[in-house]
């Protein structure tokens, strides 16, 4: 039994288990190591300070509420 690399696939030859590293995201790989934590969604909100601010998304108060600030319920228009 040995590990061999073939076209970005790490194959555990002689076994039925095949790891497709090429399609496994880094964090999925990390999830293998995390016993009690499962990643549902990885955001990059802090990076949008550089790319955001176009002002085209919906005004949060116009859509349905009129009585509370619902910025987080809006969708980016980009």
């Amino acid at each position: 039994m040995h590990f061999g690399v073939h076209d970005h696939q790490l194959t555990l030859e002689g076994d039925c288990c095949i790891l497709f590293i090429s399609i496994v995201k880094l964090n999925d790989w990390r999830n293998v190591h995390m016993k009690f934590v499962k990643t549902i969604s990885q955001g990059k909100l802090n990076e949008t300070v550089k790319t955001g601010g176009c002002g085209e998304c919906k005004n949060s108060c116009q859509s349905a509420c009129k009585t509370s600030c619902t910025v987080g319920n809006q969708v980016c228009q980009k």
């Binding site: 964090n27 990390r30 190591h33 995390m34 016993k35 009690f36 934590v37 499962k38 990643t39 549902i40 969604s41 990885q42 955001g43 990059k44 909100l45 802090n46 949008t48 300070v49 790319t51 955001g52 601010g53 176009c54 002002g55 085209e56 998304c57 919906k58 005004n59 949060s60 108060c61 116009q62 859509s63 349905a64 509420c65 009129k66 009585t67 509370s68 600030c69 619902t70 910025v71 987080g72 319920n73 809006q74 969708v75 980016c76 228009q77």
Partner: protein, 434 residues
Amino acid sequence: MSNWHSFQALGRFFLFDVLSNSLFEINETVHQYLQGQPIAEEYRKDVEADLDELRQMGYLKEEPEAEVELERDATLKALCLHISHDCNLRCRYCFAGTGPFGGAREQMSFEVGKAAIDMLLAQSGNRRQLEVDFFGGEPLLNWDVVKQVVEYGEKTAPQYGKDIHFTLTTNGVALSPEIREYLNQKQIAVVLSLDGRPEVNDRMRGACYERIVPNYLALIKERGNQNYYVRGTFTKHNLDFTEDVKHMYSLGFRELSVEPVVSDEGDYRLTEADLARIKAEYDRLAEYYLEKRLGDDPFTFFHFEVSLDHGPCLPKRLTGCGAGFDYFAVTPSGELYPCHQFVGRTAFKMGNVFEGIQNEALRQEFGSATLYKKEGCAQCWSRFYCSGGCHANAEALNGSIYKPDHLGCELQRKRLECALALKGILMQDAEANK
């Protein structure tokens, strides 16, 4: 800790990373550890290893984020046109004082509406997508002017290279077939007021349920069941508001929003004593929502609709609703206020549609009132979802736009826990069914 939040909802445990807007499902032991509760020693090593792994990946930061300095152009985005300061209902909880916001019962002229559209188009800078909401009072009491303003906006906006998206909020009483046809033909989004069960609705809104529900059903059927929200208010008298959501669902409505009443007086007002009951009710509502979302005929509930991967950018989340800066309310006589809820609070009058915004100092104050300037917000884990909360509610209840309403904050955090848990469960379900 303000940079992450672990919580239990819908019988499961979640960890939300605030700065990245990331969500993880965790087990009860990790939750207990994060809450500072004792855990079995046999699990400690693995729990700490998992959390170290998250930290190495850049999550769970201890230090507060650096305050972002925003450079904002003072351009317009949206106007709320108080097309009518009169109403054909007398809802007990109305923050408009049953229509006139403490002033006279009057209607907006086309001249004022036209000037408002001109101001919006001329002062919106490079923005392309603009919004105009017809509000009141009851906008259908001034229907001819609504149509004139829509048609003027449609004709004029392209000359500026802009799109104006119109919304109309109505109580439905005067929603005739002709008006429905026009709203649908012009693709005007509608917010339809209904509190739920007949007895709940009619107790606060007067005996109108039997009249308005058929009008609403006809309207949404004619528009292909889209581009609307049925919007209710819950008060102390219907803390079991899940039953109202269920009722509205049973009628055939699928785009729903039910909001807590905003009031510091009256037997219907919500108080801190109601908090535990309301939180439990949001849990009930989340269970019902999940059941329907996992079934064949789902519905949307406005406060539970959050996008983890395609929500607003950080600058938007820091600055909030834009009231008083890029969003203004216009009274029937053309006066400008920071938003519809400020109308009638004369200290907040900011100008008029003919001469523009005259109180630039107040505009700059609203523009710089980011969440970092609001009491307690920088330490709150939900800060990037409510953006410091509603200026008007804070000012009305605590006398300052910088002092958020505590009850409102508690409800916001509870709704967000439900929304995130629902998102987490539904995203995993979708992944499993791929």
